[in-house]
C-alpha cells in the first residue's frame, strides 16, 4: 500500500477516535435524556416531610440523606444522619464517595426544590437510579416536623401515628441543632459515610 495512503488511514483512524471520545476525563451523564427525565418525574421519588420523619423515627438504615446547602447552613440546621455535599461540588467529587447504590435511598434536600431537582437528574444520569428528594426542603421539614405541637382535640389513629413520628424525629433534629459546634462536628464526623465500612466481614 502507498505510504501516503497508509499514513492517511492512520490519521483518519485517530480522528475517528478523537471525534467520538472526550479529550479529557470529565463526568458525563449516561442513557437516554428522554427516558431519564421520564423516570425522574415519577411521583414516588418525592419524599414528604412526614415520610422522612417516619424513616428517621424508625432509624431506617436504607435512607441516605444528602444536604446540598453550604456547610454553614448545614452546621446550623442539618437533618440527623445527613451528609453535606454543597450543590456546586456534586460533580467535582466521585459520586460513590457520597451516594449509595443498590436498595438504599439517596434523598437530596436543600432549602427548596430547585437544587434537589437538578441533583436528582445528575445522580440518576450517573447511574444512581435510587435517587429521591425531600419535597419542600428544609423549610417544609421545619414547618411540619420541627415546629409540630399538639393543639388538643381528638385525632385519628393515623394522625396520632404521624404526630408521634414527627415528635420523635423533631426531638432528634432539635437535639442536633442545639449541640455546641464542637460536639456537632464530632457527631457529624461519626456519621460520615465511609464506603469501606459497608464491605462487612472481619478485618
Amino acid at each position: 500500500m502507498n505510504p501516503r495512503i497508509r499514513l492517511s488511514i492512520i490519521l483518519i483512524s485517530a480522528g475517528f477516535v478523537l471525534a467520538v471520545l472526550p479529550l479529557k476525563y470529565t463526568r458525563s451523564l449516561g442513557g437516554s435524556p428522554a427516558k431519564l427525565l421520564s423516570a425522574s418525574l415519577n411521583d414516588s421519588l418525592a419524599i414528604s416531610a412526614d415520610q422522612l420523619a417516619r424513616f428517621i423515627s424508625l432509624e431506617d438504615k436504607d435512607i441516605h440523606l444528602v444536604d446540598l446547602r453550604d456547610k454553614a447552613d448545614f452546621m446550623i440546621t442539618g437533618i440527623p444522619g445527613a451528609v453535606n455535599v454543597p450543590y456546586h461540588e456534586i460533580l467535582e467529587k466521585d459520586p460513590s464517595s457520597f451516594l449509595l447504590a443498590g436498595n438504599a435511598r439517596n434523598i437530596f434536600y436543600s432549602s427548596d426544590d430547585l437544587q434537589p431537582g437538578y441533583a436528582m437528574i445528575i445522580a440518576m444520569g450517573l447511574g444512581y437510579r435510587n435517587s429521591y428528594f425531600l419535597r419542600g426542603g428544609i423549610n417544609e421539614w421545619t414547618r411540619v416536623v420541627s415546629d409540630t405541637i399538639y393543639r388538643g382535640g381528638t385525632i385519628t389513629a393515623r394522625e396520632n401515628a404521624l404526630f408521634e413520628s414527627r415528635i420523635k424525629a423533631g426531638r432528634l433534629y432539635n437535639k442536633l441543632c442545639n449541640l455546641p459546634d464542637s460536639l456537632k462536628i464530632k457527631y457529624l464526623n461519626a456519621m460520615k459515610f465511609n464506603p469501606k465500612k459497608l464491605d462487612g466481614g472481619c478485618e
Binding site: I12, S28, E92, D113, L114
Partner: protein
C-alpha cells in the same frame, strides 16, 4: 479517484459522526459540570414579576395544567407535558426558537429536572421562570 475512496469514505463517516454526536438530542453531552454551570449561580432563573425579564421572542413551555394568564408574560406560550419535552415536535420548537426558552411549572422541582435534562442534552438558552427568587 477510486484509490482515494479508501480515504474519502472514512472521512465522510467521521464528519457524519461528529455532526450526529454534536446535534442530536438523543444522548447526553460530555462534561456534565459545564452543561449545568448556570444552575450553580442561578443565572438560569427568571423571576416572573421583574420588569423586562421576558423578551417577546421567548417561548414559554407550560409544564403543568396551570396557565400563566397575566400580562407580564407577553410571548408565545405552549403547554407540554414534562415527559414529552424530548418529543420530536417540542425539541424542534426549542431548537428553532430565536429567543430564550422558558420553563414554567408550579412545582419548581419539575422545572429543575426538565431544565437539567435539556441542558445536559446540549440545549442552550433555557431558563426557569419562577414566581419568586427563593433560595437559588
Amino acid at each position: 479517484m477510486k484509490k482515494y475512496l479508501v480515504i474519502i469514505i472514512p472521512v465522510l463517516i467521521i464528519i457524519i459522526l461528529v455532526i450526529a454526536v454534536n446535534t442530536g438530542s438523543w444522548h447526553f453531552r460530555y462534561d456534565a459540570r459545564t452543561r449545568g454551570a448556570a444552575s450553580y449561580d442561578g443565572s438560569n432563573i427568571i423571576v416572573k414579576d421583574k420588569p423586562g425579564s421576558i423578551s417577546k421572542e421567548a417561548l414559554v413551555l407550560l409544564l403543568d395544567k396551570m396557565k400563566v394568564a397575566d400580562s407580564s408574560v407577553n410571548c408565545r406560550k405552549i403547554s407540554v407535558s414534562p415527559d414529552s419535552v424530548f418529543s420530536g415536535n417540542c425539541i424542534t420548537l426549542i431548537r428553532k426558537n430565536r429567543g430564550p426558552v422558558i420553563l414554567y411549572s408550579a412545582d419548581r422541582s419539575v422545572s429543575a429536572r426538565v431544565w437539567m435534562a435539556l441542558a445536559q442534552a446540549g440545549m442552550k438558552n433555557i431558563y426557569i421562570l419562577t414566581d419568586c427568587p427563593g433560595n437559588i
